[in-house]
């Protein structure tokens, strides 16, 4: 096999010791008949405007100038459209949990000391360091802490990715393909939806795309500076999200596939560049090695119980089946074509998609770094649509209709995603109407409680099943306990919520509904999952009193309950001495009137304190019988009782201290 490089004529002489492999997609040169054209010619359209930039030709400069101007103008329009979609109405819906965590960390980095109580400068999972948060902190220093600031940074990275994708396609393919790739990415509903969230994926995708641009440029120009740039981008990508390390196997595989060898000096400089750019992470890890190791080992056990079709379903749901099919066409066309130009996007796609498909933890946002590669391959396939005019028009129309079908409806959904609407409003209500020392608990997959910390500056705790450490207010880290049979821990369903409520640490319970449960009431009741049912039971058990409802578009989205009891059921103890019964009770409705009845006769009326506790004393009734009950009932009909009293003459011993509830 011989693989010939397109731009061999521009390539400098090989340094000693370098093994060069030439890509050649042509047939072997027979003595006769004439040699077929080289792959570069086959792969490229005949017009000069479509020649790759790496092979400049002075003869065409005059003709290329207007085309270049048009190309830049088209790119500007595409980037403008992509930017508009990404930046428009960014503050429509408040943060979701993960966004609040990153924004809170950025706020701490920017010097907001208040938030240090709830946000630590370390990832609880195995996914990320703080590059994105540092960039956001700069924005916060300039414009102040807000949700728009954090999301604006992500949107800016995503918009910049369009330009980088254009540059890659311009390097690997043609100007037309570059414009198509940029347009596909600009209009990708999946990318737009994630660019509008203050998550790490847009930043990671930008850095991954930059790294691939460096690799492509190095491949074409042989200038080592591009390779060192690749090393720097990999280091930065890792700092954005640790999965950026996948760029290294991409490089290794690419070198293997193309049978290239790097001189030792170049490898050394690449490693130095990489390590220098990675040094903040290395120092951070060295300083907190134990915590990092702990977080990594525990969070790497997280597993998503989803079918293998999860990612195709996510893409189809967010992009539309038509766009997914178009992407599939791009992949199949690349596999059939087996061009060297497709090797880089192909490896890029294969490594990321393969990793996430095999990785047991799955999430809707993980595939974002793969989307530019999909756009590149698809653009390459679309660019090579039929030349005959009628067919070409028809095929173009088909493609446009497919893309439009995917774009319009799904773009609308991406722009109007209100999955977590109501959480911000609930937080702001709590900030205005709850005492500063109060605590809230909400349904969570690990992070939703931080929304309350970010917006309301209130202590907040999760309720749910997850395998992720929780940072308690004050910075204490609580890991989930190991669970038998490897099932997801139930610490934050069964263990912590009752404790925190009984200590009075949690005063408010916030139930919220995501948009998926709002869309179709028949199929998706507000309370559906087992965790939701248990949270509803918790509200009922602790006397949750509805104090506020957040309505979005006239539909209830978040419900704030104030716990009126510190226990599921009241308990009492009693003591008899000198003919007087002394009773202590806990867990009654706070500040409620409590009646004490002995065998149907009222013996006392009192008021429980603001923690639902009480103390009462009364004389042992005449003709008391050991099997008569003393019943204490509060205004909400919660009761506790005991028996065993007898007449003073009997000189009874201290009553049993065991609370009894018939």
């Amino acid at each position: 096999m011989r693989l010939r490089h397109r731009g061999t004529r521009d390539r400098p002489a090989d340094p000693p010791g370098t093994l060069r492999l030439e890509l050649d997609l042509t047939d072997p040169v027979p003595p006769t008949p004439p040699t077929p054209p080289p792959a570069a010619v086959l792969d490229s359209p005949p017009d000069a405007a479509d020649q790759p930039t790496a092979v400049p030709s002075g003869r065409h400069l005059g003709r290329r100038r207007p085309a270049q101007v048009l190309s830049w103008a088209a790119l500007a329009v595409i980037v403008g459209a992509g930017g508009l979609l990404r930046f428009w109405n960014l503050d429509r819906v408040g943060f979701r949990g993960d966004e609040a965590v990153y924004a809170g960390q950025a706020a701490v980095l920017s010097g907001v000391e208040d938030l240090q109580r709830w946000f630590i400068l370390m990832s609880r999972g195995n996914s990320n360091f703080l590059l994105y948060q540092r960039v956001v902190s700069v924005a916060y220093r300039l414009f102040g802490v807000s949700d728009v600031g954090a999301r604006g940074v992500a949107a800016a990275f995503s918009t910049a990715t369009i330009v980088v994708v254009f540059a890659i396609a311009r390097t690997l393919y043609t100007r037309r393909a570059a414009l198509i790739a940029a347009a596909l990415l600009a209009l990708s509903s999946y990318s737009v939806g994630l660019a509008r969230l203050a998550l790490l994926d847009a930043t990671l995708t930008f850095l991954v795309t930059c790294a691939m641009l460096c690799l492509a440029r190095w491949d074409r120009t042989e200038r080592p500076g591009w390779l060192y740039g690749f090393g720097a981008c990999v280091a930065l990508a890792i700092q954005a999200k640790i999965v950026g390390v996948l760029l290294l196997p991409i490089l290794a595989t690419y070198l293997l596939v193309t049978r290239r060898r790097l001189p030792a000096r170049m490898v050394g400089l690449l490693a130095v560049t990489f390590l220098v750019c990675l040094s903040p992470v290395l120092l951070d890890v060295a300083a907190n090695a134990r915590e990092f190791g702990d977080f990594l080992s525990r969070s790497s056990q997280r597993v998503s119980h989803v079918p293998w079709t999860y990612y195709p379903a996510v893409l189809a749901g967010r992009e539309g089946s038509a766009v997914v099919v178009l992407w599939a066409v791009g992949i199949v066309a690349a596999l059939v074509r087996r061009s060297r130009a497709d090797a880089l996007p192909g490896l890029w796609l294969g490594v990321f998609v393969g990793f996430y498909q095999l990785y047991p933890l799955k999430a809707f946002n993980y595939l974002l770094p793969s989307v530019p590669a999909l756009c590149l391959l698809t653009a390459r396939a679309v660019e090579r649509l039929p030349r005959p005019s009628v067919l070409r028009v028809a095929a173009t129309a088909v493609v446009v209709v497919l893309v439009a079908a995917g774009v319009v409806t799904h773009q609308w959904r991406a722009l109007h995603d209100d999955s977590y609407a109501g959480l911000e409003e609930a937080s702001r209500w709590l900030a205005a109407n709850s005492p500063p020392g109060s605590g809230a608990m909400t349904l969570s997959h690990g992070s939703a409680q931080y929304v309350f910390a970010f917006y309301a500056h209130r202590d907040a705790y999760p309720f749910g099943r997850f395998r992720l450490a929780t940072v308690l207010p004050g910075g204490k880290i609580v890991h989930a306990l190991p669970s038998p049979r490897g099932v997801t821990p139930r610490d934050w369903v069964a263990l912590w919520p009752p404790r925190l409520l009984e200590k009075g640490t949690v005063n408010y319970l916030v139930y919220y509904a995501t948009s998926t449960t709002i869309d179709d009431p028949e199929e998706d009741p507000l309370v559906n999952t087992s965790t939701q049912q248990k949270f509803r039971d918790l509200i009922a058990r602790y006397g949750g009193q509805l104090v506020h409802t957040v309505y979005v578009n006239h539909e209830g989205r978040a419900w704030i309950y104030r716990a009126t009891r510190l226990r599921k059921k009241p308990v009492v103890t009693h003591k008899v001495s000198g003919g007087v019964v002394r009773v202590r009770g806990w867990g009654f409705t706070m500040n409620s009137t409590v009646k004490v009845v002995y065998h149907g006769r009222r013996v006392a009326v009192l008021r429980a304190d603001d923690r639902g506790s009480l103390r009462v004393r009364f004389r042992v009734p005449a003709r008391a019988q050991p099997d008569y009950y003393v019943v204490l009932t509060d205004s909400e009909s919660n009761y506790a009782s005991f028996s065993g009293l007898s007449t003073p003459r009997a000189k009874s011993k201290e009553g049993g201290r065991q609370p009894r509830t018939p």
């Binding site: 096999m1 086959l42 189809a316 089946s321 066409v329 090797a343 039929p386 009431p521 009909s637």
Partner: protein
């Protein structure tokens, strides 16, 4: 990965179009097959390989056996209707969900349907609505159970019969015929007097405070098993709760109206050894 392999790959427009069409068809097929969840295999008798067959005659097979099962999503139905028999090892009323659970050592022909997680015993359950109608066997009795054969996702996918709506007891070794007389059936004719106080309209998210008084023979009855169920207009259960009356024959239960606005009905099933009652009350969940 190999490139070229010494041949020209000439990709033309028609190839791309053909590829597009082929991929479209393939992707559509894959999505239809892979992304659409197929319902679990089930029929009246159930697949012979994974569930015991249904014995006709004693009782009718139910069209929708999960209709009155609390939290039905915890089960995967393998066979809508199935019949097994065996020795009852334990009978226990679950105070949390109000169900009557029975552990059964199955007879030899049925034991092959048990899974590893069952550890040789089948868990059968009668839902609160059916408890007054079912002859409850005692531990040690031999009985035949008619119900749905399911996998219990909350019990590591054990096989179970849930719900059971008919139990036929028969004498077995060491068990006298007298002990086989069903306790509930003995007093099935006795009725409980149940007063149910519940609001008729609550805002979405609000509390539904329910007060229940139960009397039998004109005096308050303690320890009456109560089971509350809220059903929507379509008859689908949306909320469940079990409780018991106190020494004064009273029970106060709070439910939370986290339901989409609409009309619902609160059902209360009360039973105590020797009697039962069913009452209901309409509830409207409103927006504000």
């Amino acid at each position: 990965m190999r490139f070229g392999h010494r041949r020209v790959v000439r990709v033309e427009g028609r190839h791309v179009l053909a590829l597009a069409g082929a991929t479209l068809v393939a992707a559509s097929t894959a999505m239809a097959l892979g992304l659409v969840q197929r319902p679990p295999a089930e029929n009246a008798t159930g697949p012979a390989a994974i569930a015991p067959p249904w014995q006709t005659g004693a009782v009718l097979c139910r069209d929708d056996p999960m209709a009155y099962v609390p939290h039905p999503t915890r089960f995967v139905v393998l066979a809508r209707c199935s019949t097994v028999s065996g020795i009852v090892k334990q009978v226990r009323r679950d105070p949390v969900d109000g169900e009557l659970n029975m552990l059964v050592a199955l007879d030899q022909p049925y034991s092959r349907f048990l899974l590893y997680g069952n550890q040789g015993l089948l868990r059968t359950a009668v839902v609160p609505r059916d408890i007054p109608k079912v002859a409850v066997p005692k531990a040690g009795q031999h009985a035949t159970f008619y119900g749905s054969w399911v996998l219990d996702r909350n019990q590591h996918n054990q096989a179970a019969m849930h719900p059971v709506w008919k139990v036929q007891t028969s004498s077995a070794a060491g068990v006298t015929a007298r002990s086989a007389v069903p306790a509930t059936a003995q007093g099935a004719a006795r009725k409980l007097r149940v007063d149910l106080e519940a609001p008729t309209s609550v805002p979405i998210g609000g509390a539904i405070d329910v007060l229940v008084r139960v009397e039998g023979a004109r005096r308050p009855l303690p320890e009456v098993n109560l089971f509350f169920e809220i059903r929507d207009e379509a008859g689908r259960g949306v909320q469940w709760k079990a409780a018991a009356t106190n020494a004064l024959g009273l029970a106060r239960v709070t439910l939370v109206a986290l339901e989409h606005p609409g009309s619902f009905r609160l059902w209360l099933y009360a039973d105590r050894q020797g009697g039962s009652a069913v009452v209901s009350s309409p509830i409207t969940v409103r927006r504000r």
